[in-house]
């Protein structure tokens, strides 16, 4: 079992790292948008991808192809992400390549699902929210990354 665990910087990355026990017994590849994050996942394979936000279209395309390349190279059985834009792209590539995908919406989205999370419901096999009041027929609540 090979897992690609991918997230952008800041809170997204910190939340992804808190899921480590979920990956135990699997072969995990981490990916993020800052190359120096490799030091936060010592002992694991790590790849960096260029950052992108929804506001810069050209950068989005560039990042999308880099993520596609990363996925073709690493060939994961499962893709797990805590967002944001690079995670959404990984989920879309996963859908196209028939790879199982999981989106965990950031705990920072306490009032509504993030825009990327909403889009992820169209592509991802499973979408989690970390707030009970945001659960729906498409979005699952099953605890959160803090307790």
């Amino acid at each position: 079992m090979k897992i690609l665990a991918i997230a952008s910087t800041g809170g997204h990355w910190i939340q992804l790292l808190r899921l480590k026990p979920a990956f135990q017994d699997a072969d995990v590849v981490f990916a993020s948008t800052k190359s120096n994050f490799a030091s936060t996942v010592k002992g694991y394979a790590f790849h960096s991808v260029p950052d992108a936000s929804r506001w810069n279209k050209l950068q989005l395309i560039h990042t999308f192809f880099k993520i596609w390349k990363l996925i073709s190279k690493t060939k994961p059985d499962v893709i797990i992400t805590t967002g944001a834009a690079p995670g959404l792209m990984a989920v879309i590539v996963g859908k196209i390549c028939n790879i199982k995908t999981v989106w965990i919406d950031s705990i920072a989205n306490a009032e509504k699902l993030s825009m990327s999370g909403k889009l992820a419901t169209y592509f991802s096999d499973k979408v989690y929210t970390q707030w009970l009041h945001l659960a729906s027929d498409k979005v699952v609540f099953s605890g959160n990354i803090i307790r």
Partner: protein, 161 residues
Amino acid sequence: MIFVTTGTQIPFDRLIKAIDEVYPYLGDLEVIVQVARAAYKVENFTPYEFIPPKEFDDYFDRADLIIAHAGMGTIISAFVKNKPILVMPRLAKYGEHRNDHQLATATRFDELGYIHVAYDEYGLKEKIKNLQKMPLKSLFNVNDYASKELIGSLRSFINLD
């Protein structure tokens, strides 16, 4: 020591200005402030533009209080290290973020009693002025990993259990 951090991605002048204005009230309390590209010109202390990760962690560990934007990275780190944290959410109307999710998170966590929140710079300055009389305590702490419920659900979905 009070460690003030606003994240490194977007400036947060309103927070830095409030700290600058309230600085004279802090007496001999040591304050370390990461300003991260703020346009506001600080008058009362020496700001740090960029603090390398290792030093950042050292300041965080040494701090008696963290003052920050309502970014989840900082909030979770405070929970893990059992540090008191006072946040002021970034607001979209001032161009401090793309939307008001920091306000939503801060409000929820405030209701849960996990963090100290100042909703604007006036509230922030009041809380800081009172620190000598009323130090803020850590309200919540966590271990290194997500809830067992979430880990279990993920493991069963990806067929590891």
